[in-house]
């Protein structure tokens, strides 16, 4: 009987459901580092991701299914194969890479136009804040034209995956939004 109640409870709060979250962004932005920072809490040495990494992690009683897709030009076209049923997108930007801000903005807006991602929340990490010459979160927001986004919950958080700054804050916000919208 107790089991029955707890499973009903779980269902209500969605603890048994998995949430699909995609981590996207240009190559070398720090997506894989963020993924493993989230999963094992450590900085791992990474190689350019050919394809994707996927990890399941428990965060605040929720089961998150986090997909980190490679950011190289050759792999970007395949992002769309993984859009279905996505609750949220984490878009990672290398804040020191001023030259490719425009490219990042283009890829971001292109992706958000996809039908399958209309209901997905967007969290942008302005990553690599530990590096000298990094743009601030608001500057990155300007460069990416985030204000133009309508009908979507979004937020930008300054982060450093190496130092572990900003990551949990960002994720907390994301979880709150998802809970609010979907449950």
């Amino acid at each position: 009987m107790g089991n029955y109640f707890s499973s009903m409870f779980d269902r209500l709060w969605g603890a048994n459901r998995e949430l699909r979250i995609l981590i996207l962004g240009l190559d070398g932005a720090g997506k894989t580092t963020i993924l493993y920072r989230l999963q094992i809490g450590e900085v791992v040495t990474t190689k350019p991701t050919i394809g994707f990494n996927v990890e399941t992690l428990n965060y605040k009683n929720l089961k998150l299914n986090v997909w980190d897709l490679g950011g190289q030009t050759s792999i970007r076209p395949y992002w769309r194969c993984y859009y279905a049923d996505t609750a949220a997108v984490i878009f990672v930007v290398d804040s020191t890479d001023r030259d490719r801000m425009a490219t990042a903005a283009k890829e971001l807006h292109l992706m958000l136009q996809e039908e399958e991602l209309q209901d997905a929340a967007l969290l942008v990490f302005a990553n690599k804040q530990d590096q000298p010459g990094a743009l601030s979160a608001s500057d990155v927001s300007k460069e990416l034209n985030l204000v133009e986004l309508k009908d979507r919950s979004w937020s930008i958080v300054a982060s450093s995956a190496i130092r572990g700054e900003g990551i949990t804050e960002g994720l907390d916000w994301l979880i709150d939004v998802i809970k609010e919208e979907q449950m």
Binding site: E18, T49, I50, G51, F52, N53, V54, N65, C81, D85
Partner: protein, 932 residues
């Protein structure tokens, strides 16, 4: 619905194959679900795999969609699900695009996965990596190669092996690790459950050896060292590894025959190896080598080998038996007397319940048999053949057919056997037609057998249910019947068909009948045939009526060519006829107002045709041995099917096509030549030689020559291939100077140079001569003259200011010899023909070079371009003397040429005595004096 499609529906198991689209939909739905249900996914993938393995395939877009949805299953950590995911990735990688998307996930498993999935992940890497990504997997793979875990290590070795053609640079760096893996003893992962214990201990040694061989295959010294290390004591614990090492030895001794002696010790030990696999491979290596270089194998070793083979045939294991029979069979192809001692073992195999083995034993026995025991053997086969299925029957019949070419004197026994099988054995059309084909062969090449064979066939067609077979027999009766002593006998049988059978057979019978009207042996027959044909022209079927009417018309005609139409004396060269007709139809110059010109097509007389056929058949006997060998070499390393495909895609079918291509090439050259304005006035092309290479095949410029003979002219065609990159050759010509210019009976007319030969281009340069006598023998010293022009790599045009650079290039000399004036031809009774020919010349040669009899024979056949008869083109291995019988016809006059060449091999060389008889006096001396 034909019988075959009907059967396909019936085939076992096809009905319970799951529906393709249902599976596809289920897969797409289930794999994209969240959370993933491991059990359901596993089941679905296994059904998908079943579909794929039974030959079903998906269109590329669907396969790609499937691949992506399967890649999503990486989110689930279940090991057994992961294993099937890898299987699916491997299967789909061939038909899906973008498989590289799985790379990172697979590499993660290689690094951190459990011991169960690690090997699977490593093997799957083969299918997703390309040249650039292979580099990033290098560390991972190397770590896996040196792993203590046997399954991981051998998976990594296999992957490295398969990646070699994809990323040679990366894999080249693996040689140290691979070499260590050969020596190191690895253990299988221990598991509580016993079924996980590896059934093949130390298999890494086999895989590592394969990889090391691939990496070092061009380094003879390294391979020698490898063999030395591995053959020492008990280094190689795995039987496959020992077998593999033997294959490497095999490769080495074929590259350098002198090495054979060094391995003597190894051969002796491994022939007695406890694993039948290894002793079989060793025996195979020794026998193949003995076939090619009989003198280098000591009789002792050979005798031991044959004993080992006999022992293997007595083993319990069917595989070992089959392997041994195959080796013996190959030996029997070239020197049957050497393996005749195996006959008792072979005979005991006849009674095996395994029909495959029994059939192989029979075909081998047929080869080792001699004229004394052949009839006894055929008796045994007759019992056997009635008991086995059609496929085996056909194999046996094929063997008998070759036998008939080998022992023409035994035709009576063979024909009796064939007729018996034909009449008394159950079998489908394919089998019956193979029997009939065998009989047709015998009739064609053993004229004495004609009447008996035809009479038996007449009986057979009285009760035959297969149209195809009946039509062939009727054609044969029409072709051969009129020249028998009692043609009217066949007329009755043929006419019975007209009365009793369906329209297809009736039409064939009409044609056969009409040929009898022209018979010389029974002049009264013509009137009877005409009245029969008159009756048939009221037949109910159009085709039958038409054929009867036209036959009557032709028979009544006064013209002689009408008779030729009824009974054709010439056969067209089908290759050139086909290509000419294709061009005729595709060009369609004036909407077919000009009729197709048949006179351009080469024609063969019946004897020439038979010569060509016989040659093909003899070649085929030899080819089948060669094919086996090349097959061995492909399999020399532990290649999976997929790498074989990757590497050998282009070359794989080469062997079968070669013969046909050679024919096509010849008729193509002849066509090109007769189409050129410059050669119009030379008249008709009389003969073209085989293509002779004048350079090494890997030279800068590859030159091959063809000699064309006209009535009063000679044209030498030089086909030149430019293998240089970025250099074009301008104004390429070949300067041919006769060896002794003073008494040359040839006068050079003109040279047609090649204007420009682009890189990788092939073109022909022609040199034309006028000859003052009919047959001129001459050697030519040849030099290539040309101007090199460097090419601009962007435009592929020469640089403007580049004047070019005059250059010469020496190529081998070319000999115009008697053989170029001879076409090979067939004659049924060589001895009688030889005795009848009026002119005789005799010449004696003494060849100092160290050539084997077989090499001498091959050279003689090539030089004279005559047809070897009575199976004399094979040198006996047990005796030092041989008699070669050659027959041909002069290409110019059509006169007969017959040669009997006696040869004896001694320690000083080979002595030849050539006796040549011809109809035409001039040719006779030329031939005997230009044999070698």
């Amino acid at each position: 619905m034909s019988a075959q499609t009907y059967k396909k529906f019936e085939s076992a198991g096809s009905s319970d194959l799951p529906d393709k689209m249902t599976i596809y939909q289920d897969c797409m739905n289930t794999f994209n679900e969240s959370p993933v249900s491991a059990k359901r996914c596993r089941l679905l993938i296994s059904r998908l795999l079943r579909l794929l393995s039974s030959g079903e395939t998906f269109p590329q877009t669907e396969a790609t969609a499937l691949f992506f949805s399967i890649s999503k299953l990486f989110q689930h950590q279940n090991d057994s699900l992961r294993q099937v995911v890898y299987l699916a990735i491997k299967e789909l990688s061939g038909i899906s695009e973008d498989v590289l998307m799985a790379t990172s996930s697979i590499m993660k498993d290689v690094q951190n996965g459990s011991d169960i999935v690690k090997p699977n992940a490593i093997r799957a890497l083969t299918y997703v990596l390309d040249e650039s990504t292979a580099f990033s997997a290098e560390r991972l793979l190397k770590n896996a190669v040196v792993s203590k875990n046997q399954s991981v290590s051998s998976a990594a070795l296999c992957t490295a092996y398969n990646l070699l053609p994809i990323s040679e640079v990366t894999i080249k760096r693996f040689s140290n690790e691979a070499q260590e893996a050969i020596m190191e003893v690895k253990t299988a992962p221990m598991s509580a459950r016993s079924e996980f214990v590896s059934k093949a201990p130390h298999i890494t040694q086999y895989h590592a050896l394969g990889l090391v061989y691939e990496l070092k295959r061009n380094d003879k010294m390294a391979l020698m060292k490898l063999i030395q290390q591995c053959s020492d004591g008990f280094v190689l614990k795995n039987q496959f590894a020992r077998m593999e090492l033997m294959k490497i030895v095999n490769d080495l001794i074929h590259r350098d025959t002198q090495l054979f002696a060094q391995f003597q010790q190894l051969f002796n030990v491994w022939l007695q190896d406890r694993s039948s696999l290894v002793s079989l491979e060793t025996a195979k290596t020794i026998t193949t080598f003995a076939i090619a270089h009989p003198r280098l194998v000591s009789p002792d070793l050979f005798a031991t080998t044959v004993n080992v083979l006999r022992k293997l045939m007595n083993e319990f294991n069917c595989g070992a038996k089959l392997g041994a029979v195959k080796v013996v069979n190959k030996m029997a192809m070239v020197s049957p007397e050497k393996v005749a001692v195996c006959n008792p073992e072979l005979e005991s195999l006849l009674s095996m319940s395994n029909k495959e083995l029994a059939t192989f034993a029979i075909t081998t026995l047929l080869k080792t048999s001699n004229e004394d025991n052949i009839s006894n053997l055929i008796g045994r086969i007759t019992e056997f053949v009635h008991k086995v299925s059609d496929d085996f029957k056909i194999t046996v019949i094929e063997a008998i057919r070759t036998l008939s070419l080998k022992f023409p004197k035994e035709w009576k026994v063979i024909i009796k056997f064939l007729i018996d099988v034909l009449k008394n054995s159950e079998g489908a059309a394919k089998f019956k037609s193979s029997v009939v084909e065998a009989i047709i062969d015998i009739v064609a090449f053993v004229p004495q057998s004609k009447e008996l064979a035809l009479e038996s066939l007449c009986d057979f067609i009285e009760d035959c249910e297969y149209n195809e077979v009946l039509v062939r027999v009727l054609h044969l009766l029409g072709k051969e019947g009129p020249s028998t002593s009692n043609p009217s006998l066949y007329v009755r049988h043929i006419f019975n068909r007209v009365v009793l059978e369906n329209s297809i057979i009736r039409s064939a019978a009409v044609i056969a009948l009409s040929k009898f009207a022209l018979t010389k042996n029974d002049p009264t027959l013509k009137d009877s045939i005409v009245s029969l044909l008159n009756r048939i022209s009221n037949d109910t079927d159009d085709e039958v009526r038409d054929r009867a009417t036209i036959s009557l018309k032709l028979l009544g005609s006064e013209h002689s060519f009408a008779k030729d139409l009824v009974q054709s004396k010439y056969y067209y060269d089908l290759n050139s006829l086909e290509s000419k007709l294709t061009t005729y139809i595709s060009t369609n110059e004036d909407s077919f107002k000009t009729p197709f010109d048949v006179s351009q097509i080469r024609k063969f007389s019946e004897d020439e045709m038979k010569a060509i056929e016989l040659k093909h058949k003899q070649d085929r006997v030899f080819k089948s041995t060669d094919n086996d060998e090349s097959g061995n070499r492909d399999a020399i390393a532990p290649a999976t099917v997929s790498t074989n495909k990757r590497k050998d895609n282009d070359t794989y079918k080469g062997a079968d096509l070669h013969e046909h291509e050679q024919d096509l090439l010849e008729s193509k050259y002849a066509d090109e030549l007769s189409g050129m304005e410059e050669f119009k006035e030379f008249g008709k092309l009389i003969n073209s030689s085989k293509v002779t290479p004048l350079t090494e095949s890997e030279a800068e410029f590859v030159v091959r020559a063809v000699k064309h003979v006209f009535k009063d002219n000679i044209v030498l065609q030089f086909n030149i291939t430019n293998t240089l990159v970025d250099v074009a050759l301008d104004n390429v010509s070949v300067v041919c100077s006769a060896e002794d210019p003073e008494n040359s009976r040839l006068e050079e007319l003109f040279t047609l140079p090649i204007e420009r030969l682009a890189p990788a281009g092939e073109s022909a340069c022609y040199v034309a001569f006028k000859k003052s006598t009919d047959t001129v023998m001459k050697g030519f010293l040849n030099t290539l003259h040309f101007t090199t022009r460097e090419l601009n790599p962007d435009t592929h045009e020469p640089f403007e200011d580049d004047e070019g650079f005059q250059d010469e290039y020496e190529i081998d000399s070319l000999f115009l010899n008697a053989g170029d004036y001879i076409k090979s031809s067939f004659v049924g009774n060589f001895e009688a023909t030889f005795d009848q020919l009026p002119n005789e010349e005799v010449a004696v040669y003494n060849i100092q070079e160290d050539l084997s009899l077989q090499e001498v024979i091959d050279k003689l056949v090539l030089n004279t371009s005559c047809l070897p008869l009575s199976n004399t083109q094979f040198a006996p291995t047990d005796s030092s003397s041989h008699v070669l019988k050659l027959f041909g016809k002069s290409a110019l006059m059509g006169t007969k040429v017959a040669l009997v060449i006696k040869m004896i091999k001694s320690s000083k060389g080979v002595a030849l005595k050539a006796q040549c008889r011809t109809e035409d006096a001039t040719l006779c001396a030329d031939i005997v004096n230009n044999l070698m």
